[in-house]
């Protein structure tokens, strides 16, 4: 069964450093997402991406964040200058959704980001 994959599973970085989290969505999916979940808190929407551009973003997704789909398979989240409060699990998700219907999102296993 196809699945969303994410690398690395755990990333430790120093405050102020740049990190890139990588995701490979399910191959025929059209919509891509990033979420984060701070330990013990709810899953929070960051950004959605469709047709090679951001379609929606939350207040959390400020200028320190960017997303890219550099090739036909990868979808990345970059944090330019990490802060302590960026420590969280980051989940990538994808959805097929042809225009006439809506369906569920498939989540990856997550990347645990620890900022020291």
């Amino acid at each position: 069964e196809p699945e969303v994959t994410q690398t690395p599973s755990h990333q430790v970085t120093q405050m102020g450093q740049e990190v890139i989290l990588r995701c490979v969505p399910i191959s025929n999916h059209l919509y891509f997402y990033w979420y984060r979940q701070i330990l013990g808190q709810k899953v929070e929407f960051l950004v959605s991406f469709y047709n090679n551009e951001i379609s929606e973003k939350s207040e959390i997704f400020d200028d320190q964040f960017s997303v890219e789909r550099p090739d036909g398979s990868n979808f990345t989240l970059k944090i330019r200058s990490t802060k302590l409060e960026d420590s969280a699990m980051y989940f990538c998700a994808s959805r097929y959704s042809p225009q006439s219907s809506y369906n569920e999102q498939f989540f990856g296993p997550g990347t645990r980001l620890t900022v020291l």
């Binding site: 709810k42 899953v43 929606e56 989540f107 296993p109």
Partner: protein, 115 residues
């Protein structure tokens, strides 16, 4: 303000009983409501989706109801098993100011099924 509330932080039931989880929301008009399961340290796994014009949806031992007047969804697991122990997340498809939609999650209910 907009809120999604899920009942109690933890729900403990005996194996074989029916678990009922509640999701209440205020100041939203979702077109879809979804339920996900999340195990510790893992990503959410989709379980069921129900549309605003549907009252009830079933899948094997799972049943979801959606009352847009009460602004409430109930999620039932019948004949519960210890393997059903997990956190269950309610998620609403929310219309953002841009006219596009985003998925907004509740904080989840942790279910513990005792053998």
């Amino acid at each position: 303000s907009q809120k999604i509330e899920q009942n109690s932080e933890a729900l403990n039931i005996q194996e074989g009983k029916t678990a009922t989880l509640t999701c209440n929301y205020t100041n939203y008009s979702p077109a879809y409501l979804q339920w996900y399961r999340q195990d510790p340290g893992r990503g959410p796994v989709f379980l069921l989706l129900i549309r605003e014009n549907e009252k009830e949806k079933r899948k094997e031992r799972l049943k979801v109801t959606f009352d847009t007047t009460l602004k409430q969804s109930l999620f039932h697991i019948t004949a519960s098993q210890p393997a059903d122990s997990a956190t269950y997340l309610c998620a609403l498809d929310i219309l953002m100011d841009t006219g596009r939609r985003a998925l907004t999650f509740g904080s989840g209910t942790r279910l513990q099924v005792q053998p």
